[in-house]
């Protein structure tokens, strides 16, 4: 057993972090081009089509960095959904960063930027459609940097890819971890510098304990996300999404409380991360929905399974 990321995986994540360092929540092509230049979009594409043919778990650290950077655009859908539903020619274009894919069920995020849409059908199926063949109706989003669209399409029968939907959920969980880590680091930094009552607010025990609780939540959500990427088991995926969503919500609430009124405004970029947390926490099932699902999948339940591994 070796439940740890390799040096290569961590080094690639560091590269992703570097190329995205100046980007946050800004919709545009810069981040996309930099990720493509780094080879991000080929991670999961089979080697035959110009990719590295890796497993989802191998890419998790990089996905987490995309979350931490609050990157805009259908970056994760393109990375994760493509190998499940696209053919060789399209995959080669994905690997080269030349094709954008947005995936979703009732609502699709960033559909306006996508070259192809992956739409959920019944029982874990998905249909691949061109944006030109459907009508996109904007839907309010918790995150202005990640607009949502309802898609009106006809005849969307498709292939059964339940694992793709689970992989997208796990990737969302990994992004939430990255968002939470950024919010925690930003809160720590602010608490070290902001002085009230003659001392840094980070020296107050209430602030310390609040941020320690965020650290705890992130620390113990992370291995659930890693396992879910390895197993793609239904209960594991729900545990990963619920725990990471709750950790990120806690990080967001704590960041706001530590920053005080200024965190609430456009003065600081903090709001981009808050909004992304609120959006991704609800995307692919809220923590509450996944918690309810977990209850039905415990050992002893009709659909339950034992502990893994």
């Amino acid at each position: 057993m070796n439940f740890a990321f390799t040096d290569d995986q961590l080094a690639f994540a560091a590269l992703v972090r570097e190329v995205l360092a100046a980007e946050h929540g800004v919709r545009g092509d810069k981040a996309w081009a930099r990720l493509a230049g780094a080879g991000f979009f080929g991670l999961l594409v089979p080697e035959a089509y110009g990719g590295l043919g890796l497993r989802l778990v191998d890419a998790l650290p990089a996905v987490e960095e995309a979350g931490r950077a609050c990157v805009a655009g259908p970056v994760i859908d393109t990375l994760v959904a493509s190998p499940y539903v696209l053919g060789g020619g399209e995959l080669a274009r994905v690997a080269a960063g030349e094709l954008r894919v947005a995936a979703g069920a009732a609502r699709v995020a960033d559909a306006d930027l996508a070259d192809l849409l992956v739409l959920a059908g019944p029982a874990g199926s998905a249909a691949v459609l061109s944006p030109q063949s459907v009508r996109l109706a904007p839907h309010p989003s918790a995150d202005p940097g990640r607009p949502l669209f309802e898609v009106e399409a006809t005849g969307t029968g498709g292939v059964a890819v339940p694992d793709m939907w689970r992989a997208l959920t796990v990737a969302t969980a990994a992004q939430l971890l990255g968002l939470a880590r950024h919010l925690l680091a930003t809160s720590v930094e602010y608490a070290r510098q902001r002085v009230q009552f003659g001392r840094p607010i980070g020296s107050f025990q209430a602030v310390k304990h609040r941020l320690a609780d965020v650290a705890l939540a992130v620390e113990f959500a992370a291995p659930l996300v890693w396992r879910a990427a390895l197993s793609l088991g239904e209960r594991d995926v729900s545990a990963a999404k619920a725990a990471s969503g709750e950790a990120a919500e806690l990080a967001a609430g704590s960041a706001l409380q530590v920053h005080g009124a200024i965190g609430y405004t456009h003065e600081l970029p903090l709001r981009h991360w808050l909004a992304r947390v609120w959006a991704l926490s609800a995307a692919h099932g809220s923590p509450a929905e996944h918690r309810a699902r977990i209850r039905e999948l415990l050992p002893g339940s009709a659909n339950g399974e034992g502990r893994w591994p």
Partner: protein
């Protein structure tokens, strides 16, 4: 010991309910937009014409001398009817109690009637960039000049200031940390004060920065004596934290809507809704008991902090639950806007960390 409304209280409730049913303006645009600000002022003028904008004030200032219990009844009916938010809130809830307690008869006569009619809308200006929780660290200053004072410095998080006509806040008149502060009223439409709206999470401008560059105010704009500002402001913020700022009516209305929203939901979420509904009831009953004590002449004192922590965290719990109930569909609904608004509750009017410190030290007697 009873929970029975008097016949007069019941009649008053019926009057308010009927009046609101007949006059409810529907949903107004946000008061933090130019059009919404106008619409809210018009609505409050209509309320004032029925003597319903400040029911607990004396008749001479536009109220009807209602008791605290009657005021609570008014609030319950107002929010249950989903009537608009109160654009005059800073004035009626924060400034007016200060003028009643520390103002001159002339100041009350000059400012209260216009406040009740929403002719003049007030911004509060407590915070400065380096003095958020720590008000005694304020640096904006007032200099003595013949017949009055000149105000200079920088205030921030001034609520309603983007469109308000006047403001109130503390300025430093000497170097002493607490005793060097004086309570001022000031106009916002003079060239020596610059108002820069601050965009919030929801993209609107509920707050502004104020930059004072020698704004002249006459002596009549000082509330209380120079140097008494800290003491006066503490009395005001106590009322901000306590009974006056957050009557239970709003939370009762939210809790009712939340229970409707949770009907048929996952039992775990339904249970959270039930807890919120009971918590709102607890806040209401607690307020009845507090009102009774105040009507008997007691001061609310540091116990106001108990109320502030309770309502602000209840409000956040309710809106967070609504988000959980609605999932991705929450965005764009009033619940999501309410969530963004509720997020500020534990921060403003003294952060809840400060409040818990007050409870521990001044209610429980733990050492500083």
């Amino acid at each position: 010991m009873d929970l029975d409304f008097t016949p007069a209280e019941q009649d008053f409730r019926a009057e308010v309910r009927d009046w609101l049913a007949a006059h409810h303006p529907g949903v107004l645009p946000s008061m933090d937009t130019a059009a919404g600000f106008r619409a809210h002022r018009a609505w409050e003028a209509e309320l004032a014409a029925a003597r319903l904008s400040a029911v607990s004030w004396p008749v001479e200032y536009g109220g009807r001398g209602a008791s605290l219990i009657e005021w609570l009844v008014f609030e319950e009916e107002y929010w249950a009817a989903a009537a608009p938010g109160r654009v005059s809130q800073n004035g009626i809830v924060l400034l007016a109690p200060t003028l009643f307690a520390f103002g001159t008869p002339g100041q009350r006569a000059r400012w209260l009637p216009g406040m009740a009619r929403a002719d003049e809308i007030w911004a509060q200006a407590w915070s400065e960039p380096e003095a958020g929780s720590d008000l005694a660290a304020l640096t904006a200053r007032a200099e003595r000049v013949p017949g009055g004072w000149r105000l200079t410095g920088h205030k921030t998080w001034s609520s309603r200031a983007a469109y308000a006509s006047h403001g109130f806040g503390l300025f430093r008149t000497s170097g002493e940390r607490h005793r060097g502060l004086t309570y001022f009223l000031f106009p916002l439409d003079e060239p020596e004060v610059e108002v820069r709206p601050i965009a919030q999470l929801d993209g609107e401008h509920g707050f502004a920065e104020l930059r004072f560059d020698g704004l002249f105010v006459p002596d009549s704009m000082v509330v209380g004596e120079p140097g008494e500002g800290w003491r006066i402001a503490m009395a005001t913020t106590s009322s901000e934290r306590g009974l006056s700022l957050r009557s239970p009516g709003r939370f009762l209305a939210t809790a009712d809507r939340l229970v409707e929203l949770a009907a048929g939901a996952d039992p775990v979420l339904a249970d959270r809704a039930a807890r919120c509904w009971i918590d709102a009831e607890a806040y209401r009953l607690h307020t009845f008991a507090t009102a009774r004590r105040l009507m008997a002449g007691a001061e609310i004192g540091p116990a106001a902090s108990l109320g502030k922590v309770f309502w602000s965290e209840l409000d956040l719990r309710m809106h967070a639950l609504a988000r959980d109930l609605l999932g991705e569909r929450a965005a764009g609904t009033p619940w999501f806007d309410g969530f963004l608004f509720a997020l500020a509750g534990p921060i403003y009017a003294g952060t809840n960390e400060i409040q818990r410190g007050i409870i521990a030290e001044r209610v429980l007697g733990l050492p500083r």
